[in-house]
């Protein structure tokens, strides 16, 4: 019977957004769907969208929690601009998310939740299901609450526990629509609730199945199939940017043979890095939750002096507070990784939103001439590699390094082919030798790096500090010419890191063309998707993406000169464009900027690029 009814349509990619009250379990629902899809072989990208309040009043727009995911049989670079399917557990969820649904998209609602009270809380004066505002969408009304209740009424669970299963109904239904297997989720339910109460396991399983069956029985719903993507073979896991960052630091510590020390203070959206490292006692990591951001970085500097791979993690306001201490790490030339998970500014700004507006601060936000290497990650999973790189550069070049991620990367997740530690490059701390007299500011002729002498080592006693020091010997020095020498040496040391920075590669025609789209950091996924689509459409467009900001890769100018128009796309008012004006003044940079606490959409990027190609 079943097989006969089923009409299966194949799709290349789909965007789904689950949304409901903060208590509705939408984050879990989204995660389970993502994992199932990843297991199935799709490429996936996800992004949660929390409210700013912990628990805004139930049923209100402010309290809506969303989880968007994008999966496909091709490579997926973003969580998607607009959703093909919106699952909305209440009217507020419709209200909050309608703008993110594609014209003609499907909206699955829990019809039982459209009560007068809920409509009012959501700020609807009229039931949107009953007027024609939703006319452009394919509305699927499902009495989720009642069906959930019915399917488990015999289990004797209290009402609260029953209602907690609603999300499984929605999930089951969506599984049906996208032809997904239930195994992964059933296993998950078993492990998650098994120890607690067997009735809860049973309830969740049943409701999941009920949702699936409902889809199967409902004539209205077509079913779709998104074939597995062509993904390199290997062992995979899903990872978000914050965990990847934490793990990258742990990996750098292991590789360099040093203990990881994180000195940090909680701040959205960076706290998870602190939390993950505090949980990694198994790997011997020390996590010092400090009294504030200044103590966070200063404990890390103290630990670095003591011989750890030291790091500190924060977001914008915290980076501002750390400015003075970064200068101390720079002048003492001690290794230190500063992770800054950017969010909407200035001041407290939009603390749960994403932005790229701390770039110039990372580059120049300290008193005095105080150069510091800056690198930026571009996807949730490559936070692992760039955190590792930050650790490598810090240790091998004896310098603080700023790693920029942002709210989008931090919370977003994607499947990641697990790296083996043996595949990662060496990290060799430049330790001073015990038997030689130690000169703290004697530099390696090639890299300009000084040697590291760790307390506890006999014979290498020495003093460092924030006052200017005499070159080579490291005693305090007020000699004017020496200050100039040391200032140049600090600058030069950072410049020479370029020797180990990989060359840039253009995505598109290597030999030049009409339009080169320039990006850095987390906008990677949106920009490459836009550029790729336009290339597929036959446009003369290429893309250049930066992860190493200071120093810029060696071949930057060589590439920039090959393209007629350069447009720098950023989630700020043009900070990287300004930086390029400083570093490569000879080129003309157009800008495309957005400051809304939101990532780009592929759509808006493409529209802008079409215009630029036409204008010429």
């Amino acid at each position: 019977m079943e097989n006969l009814k089923k009409e299966v349509v194949e799709l290349d990619e789909v965007v789904i957004r689950f949304s409901g009250d903060s208590g509705d379990g939408m984050q879990l629902t989204g995660t389970l769907f993502s994992n199932t899809s990843a297991l199935f072989g799709n490429d996936v990208s996800t992004f949660p969208d929390y409210p700013a309040e912990i628990r805004a009043p139930q049923g209100t727009v402010g309290g809506v929690s969303g989880f968007q995911l994008h999966f496909g049989k091709k490579q997926i670079f973003t969580p998607g601009d607009y959703a093909d399917v919106l699952v909305a557990m209440n009217p507020a969820a419709v209200k909050a998310n309608l703008r993110w649904v594609k014209q003609g998209g499907t909206i699955i609602v829990d019809a039982d939740s459209f009560t007068d009270k809920n409509l009012e809380k959501a700020g609807y004066s009229q039931d949107p299901l009953k007027d024609d505002k939703l006319g452009n969408y394919n509305i699927v009304e499902v009495p989720i609450t009642n069906l959930t209740k019915q399917s488990i009424e015999d289990l004797g669970l209290d009402n609260k526990s029953v209602l907690r299963c609603k999300n499984m109904f929605a999930l089951g239904l969506v599984y049906y629509i996208f032809s997904r297997p239930l195994e992964h989720t059933l296993n998950f339910i078993e492990t998650k609730f098994g120890a607690k109460d067997p009735r809860v396991v049973e309830a969740n399983k049943r409701v999941l199945q009920a949702g699936f069956n409902y889809g199967d029985n409902l004539q209205l719903l077509r079913s779709y199939l998104v074939q597995p993507a062509d993904i390199p073979a290997g062992k995979y896991r899903s990872i978000n940017g914050n965990i990847a960052t934490a793990w990258g630091l742990l990996a750098a510590a292991e590789k360099s043979g040093l203990r990881l020390f994180l000195g940090s203070y909680p701040i959205t959206p960076a706290s998870e890095i602190l939390q993950e490292i505090s949980a990694r006692k198994d790997l011997g990591a020390v996590c010092f939750q400090a009294e504030d951001e200044i103590a966070g970085i200063c404990t890390a500097i103290g630990a670095s002096f003591a011989g750890c791979l030291a790091a500190t993690s924060t977001s914008g306001p915290g980076l501002s507070l750390k400015a003075e201490a970064i200068g101390l790490a720079a002048i003492t030339e001690l290794p230190l990784v500063i992770v800054n998970v950017q969010r909407g500014g200035p001041s407290t700004g939009l603390p749960t939103k994403t932005e790229q507006s701390d770039l110039l601060q990372a580059l120049y936000g300290r008193h005095g001439e105080c150069p510091v290497p800056v690198i930026a990650a571009s996807t949730p999973s490559d936070c692992f590699y760039y955190a590792y790189e930050a650790g490598r550069i810090a240790v091998e070049h004896m310098t603080p390094v700023i790693l920029l991620t942002d709210g989008f990367l931090a919370n977003g997740s994607e499947p990641w082919k697990i790296t083996k530690m043996s595949e990662l490059p060496e990290i060799k701390p430049p330790f001073a030798q015990k038997d030689k007299p130690y000169l703290p500011y004697l530099r390696n002729a090639e890299t300009m790096v000084r040697e590291w002498a760790v307390p506890g080592t006999p014979g290498l006693e020495h003093r460092v500090g924030g006052l200017e020091k005499m070159a080579v010997t490291g005693t305090v020095s007020y000699v004017p010419e020496n200050h100039q020498v040391m200032t140049f040496e600090r600058e030069e040391k950072v410049k020479r890191i370029v020797a180990k920075v990989p060359d840039l590669k253009v995505f598109g025609n290597q030999n030049g063309g009409k339009l080169l789209v320039i990006g850095w950091g987390s906008t990677y996924g949106y920009i490459i998707t836009a550029v790729k689509e336009m290339q597929d459409e036959g446009h003369d467009i290429a893309m250049l993406h930066f992860n190493y900001i200071n120093p810029l890769p060696k071949n930057t100018a060589e590439i920039l000169k090959l393209y007629k128009k350069l447009v720098v796309c950023e989630l700020n008012l043009g900070q990287f464009a300004n930086y390029l004006r400083i570093k490569h003044q000879q080129f003309n940079y157009l800008q495309y900027n957005k400051v809304q606490g939101q990532p780009f959409t592929v759509l808006e990027l493409k529209e802008h690029f079409y215009k630029l190609l036409k204008e010429e």
Binding site: N35, A38, L39, I231, P232, A233, K235, Y236, R237, S238, W247, L250, E254, R259, F261, G263, R280, K281, D282, L283, G284, V286, F288, A290, E291, I294, A295, C298, T299, A300, I301, G302, A303, F305, A306, G307, A310, A325, G327, L328, T332, K417, I418, T419, K420, M421, P455, G456, P458, G459, L460, E461, H462, R463, V464, G465, G466, L467, T475, V476
Partner: protein, 337 residues
């Protein structure tokens, strides 16, 4: 035990000491060098960490590992160093400005956490290095460069603040008495947890004579009391004065008068957990009371650094995640063929 026997000279660096002639800091430097020479630890295990101030130039004059930090952050830097490597002997050197003005937050938190540090606070009741502005320990009404008409602020008492921040060890020394400082420093090193040591230090240039009342030679034995654990609180040139407890307050009495004998005098118990009496002792002020020197409070409690590593040991004993590769493939993973 140290591999070699040291003399104080082994702890002197080759840098010329640049404090003003007569500055109390020099005496403290001597006392620390003497202490370290006598402690019997290897020199490379000592780390001296400071912030910014006259007093904070200290590390440059010590032939140990040294770190001259930024203003106010000596406590955080030292906490990091000690937590990173608890086998080091970490000495934080700080001033009343460095520790209690800009560094006040790190001070109360390192005390609260009970990081196993030796903290020497050189209290000259003034900002020396910036040439004489008032500090959080300057007296109410004091005229300084930045209070030309006198301050209108109540000063901190470092001992009181230490206790308020859950302090387990507090001692007080004075710059002219090197022997007492050495004694205190040794006790501090042997105490596990943070040992806060306030040194009454004379700044000859910007606040000369701040402690004259209690230090003038003829009267100081009447105006100071050196507290020792388990010994009665007796003081005075003729050792005929003592402290007793009356109502809920301390009182100075004369032995032999009003029927008071030595037996009535309070016996100092530095190990008492309840801080109330220690608070009263650190707060004693002239002329009503003698100013208390010596180790006033010394209570055992778990230290932060110890706690961190005990937890690591416990977790490592039972975890399956022994290295990064284990972690990377832990939890939910899948294979793509």
């Amino acid at each position: 035990m140290a591999d070699v026997k040291y003399t104080p000279k082994d702890f002197k660096s080759d840098q010329e000491v640049r404090w003003c002639p007569g500055c109390g800091d020099s005496a403290v430097l001597n006392a620390v060098q003497k202490t370290m020479a006598e402690l019997g630890r290897n020199k490379e295990e000592f780390v001296v960490i400071s912030g910014i101030g006259c007093s904070s130039r200290f590390p440059y004059y010590m032939n140990t590992y040294g770190f001259h930090g930024i203003h106010g952050r000596s406590g955080a830097i030292a906490s990091g160093t000690k937590t990173a490597n608890p086998s080091l002997s970490v000495w934080q050197i700080t001033g009343d400005g460095d520790a209690l003005a800009i560094g006040g937050n790190h001070f109360i938190h390192e005390v609260r956490r009970n990081v196993d540090l030796n903290l020497i606070l050189l209290n000259n009741q003034i900002y020396g290095l910036t040439k004489g502005q008032y500090s959080p320990t300057s007296k109410f009404g004091q005229v300084t460069k930045s209070s030309p008409f006198g301050t209108v602020e109540h000063p901190f008492h470092p001992g009181e603040l230490t206790i308020g921040a859950q302090g387990k060890f507090f001692a007080r020394g004075i710059d002219y008495n090197v022997a007492l400082m050495v004694e205190i420093f040794k006790e501090a090193e042997n105490h596990r947890g943070i040992s806060v040591i306030e040194i009454l230090q004379n700044c000859v240039i910007f606040n000369d004579g701040a402690y004259d009342y209690v230090t003038e030679k003829e009267n100081r034995e009447d105006r100071l009391i050196v507290l020792k654990h388990n010994e009665p609180m007796i003081f005075g040139k003729n050792r005929d004065k003592g402290l007793i407890f009356e109502g809920s307050k301390l009182k100075v009495v004369k032995i032999g008068e009003n029927g008071i004998s030595e037996k009535d005098i309070l016996v100092h118990n530095a190990k008492e957990k309840d801080p109330s009496l220690h608070l009263a002792l650190v707060n004693m002020e002239s002329p009503e009371f003698p100013v208390a020197l010596g180790v006033i409070r010394s209570v055992d409690a778990p230290t932060y650094d110890q706690g961190v590593y005990e937890q690591i040991k416990k977790i490592q004993a039972k975890t399956n995640i022994k290295c990064m590769d284990d972690l990377l493939s832990s939890g939910s993973t899948w294979n793509v063929e």
